[in-house]
């Protein structure tokens, strides 16, 4: 089977299952809604203040919410030994990995699209800089979180107390990406300077870690 057809069929299977159960997207949505509401109570910011802190709030909320979906990525394949079946099949491991990454990427992007209006309403956000740049930040940043997150979910699924393990190993590695996302979002919202450096950095981070993931995924999948 070719790379593309494996990726496509795995992705479509995941999307269909998600469409029918809506487990991941619902729990992510409710989780980030809670974060929005609780932070709004906790800080009660004015419009100017929220422009300063929104970058941090938005991305912390999405990061925590993404972990919910990422944790479920491989759990499903563990039942009925699907992952073992995959290992003995001749299908390329990276095709499976890419399908999972694309699936998670789609879920998190949908979450962000649905949550963005809520952030605007609760925090009275109005961007000073160009809004399309926020979209670029969101796409690059989400890929950075999801590509490493999917890989580390495959690591943590093999450990004891797997649900706790994922954030413990994902967050330290993601610090530069998170910093780039938060700072570029703040820069765009306040219109104070340009986010060019951060966008380039996110791009470098994405490329470097996508390559590392693709390089190591087969090894991790076949770890005994």
């Amino acid at each position: 089977m070719s790379q593309i057809s494996v990726t496509r069929s795995t992705l479509l299977k995941d999307l269909r299952m998600e469409w029918r159960s809506k487990d991941a997207i619902n729990s992510m949505l409710f989780f980030s809604l809670l974060v929005v509401v609780i932070f709004s109570f906790a800080f009660n910011p004015t419009a100017e203040e929220s422009r300063q802190i929104a970058g941090g709030l938005v991305w912390v909320a999405f990061l925590f919410a993404a972990v919910v979906a990422l944790n479920q990525t491989w759990a499903r394949e563990l039942r009925n030994q699907v992952l073992d079946a995959y290992r003995v099949s001749p299908a390329p491991p990276n095709a499976l990995f890419l399908a999972k990454v694309l699936g998670n990427f789609l879920f998190v992007v949908i979450l962000e699209t649905l949550m963005a209006p809520l952030f605007v309403v609760f925090y009275q956000l109005r961007s000073v800089g160009p809004v399309w740049q926020l979209v670029v930040v969101a796409l690059l940043g989400t890929w950075a979180l999801v590509v490493n997150g999917t890989f580390f979910a495959a690591l943590s699924i093999r450990t004891r107390s797997r649900e706790i393990m994922l954030p413990l190993i994902l967050f330290p590695i993601s610090i530069p990406a998170l910093l780039a996302m938060v700072d570029s979002t703040t820069t765009i919202l306040t219109g104070d300077g340009t986010p060019d450096f951060w966008l380039k950095m996110l791009l470098v981070y994405d490329v470097v870690f996508t390559l590392v993931c693709l390089l190591l995924f087969e090894t991790v999948l076949n770890a005994e």
């Binding site: 580390f152 690591l155 093999r158 450096f197 950095m201 590392v212």
Partner: protein
């Protein structure tokens, strides 16, 4: 072998004693910072050893993935643990030095933040090693080690940019700008001594890891025999 390692430990201890004497007695007191500057002779060598350990950890992890040798994995485990210890020393001695000199315990400066993130990454590595189940530990740990090592330059770059946009605290008396010869002398001795201490720790921890592996294998064997009975 045994007498050789005892000789090595004795040599290291002697070297450490001599370098401590150099740092605390021979080296002159710094003009502006005073006695507290002597922490420099411990702070920087510790950072050096930590960096060395993490580099060894990366190389050993790559070798493990390539050759699948358990010895390489033991080296990786040992060096990560020792590296975290020395990194902790750096993170503790740093604020003790910064407080009287800069007037603050901590600042989100590029080097400080990178060291902290480095520490976080390798602590997460140790956590993963502790929690991974059975024979998968080595592969999972080696994969994470590669991620961690690749991340370090990116962290440094990003934080340098993040901080250069903001005013930085004044660095009191740059320690690298023209070190007095006696100070350099004491510093180099300490660097050497700490490197030897680091090697001692890694070798000891490496042997311990090999023993642990043996004990684990024996337990597994016992369980198998028990199952057959």
């Amino acid at each position: 072998m045994k007498s050789l390692s005892i000789a090595f430990v004795i040599f290291t201890l002697a070297l450490l004693g001599f370098s401590t004497y150099q740092a605390l007695v021979v080296a002159p007191t710094e003009q502006t910072m005073g006695e507290v500057q002597r922490i420099f002779y411990y702070h920087v060598p510790s950072a050096w050893v930590a960096g060395l350990c993490f580099a060894v950890n990366f190389l050993a992890s790559v070798v493990y993935l390539w050759k699948r040798s358990l010895n390489a994995d033991a080296v990786a485990a040992a060096s990560a643990e020792v590296g975290v210890v020395f990194c902790t020393i750096v993170l503790i001695t740093g604020p003790i030095w910064a407080r009287p000199v800069w007037g603050i315990w901590w600042t989100w400066d590029a080097r400080l933040t990178t060291t902290l993130v480095l520490w976080l990454i390798y602590v997460s590595y140790l956590v993963l090693r502790r929690f991974a189940a059975g024979g998968q530990t080595q592969v999972l740990a080696a994969a994470l080690a590669i991620f961690g090592f690749v991340d370090v330059p990116i962290v440094y770059m990003s934080i340098r940019w993040f901080r250069t946009q903001h005013p930085q605290p004044v660095m009191g008396g740059g320690q690298n700008s023209g070190l007095a010869p006696e100070m350099l002398h004491a510093f180099l001795w300490n660097l050497l001594a700490f490197t030897f201490v680091g090697i001692c720790f890694i070798v000891a921890r490496y042997r311990l890891q090999l023993m642990e592996n043996k004990v684990e294998a024996a337990h597994a064997q016992l369980a198998l025999q028990g199952g057959a009975r």
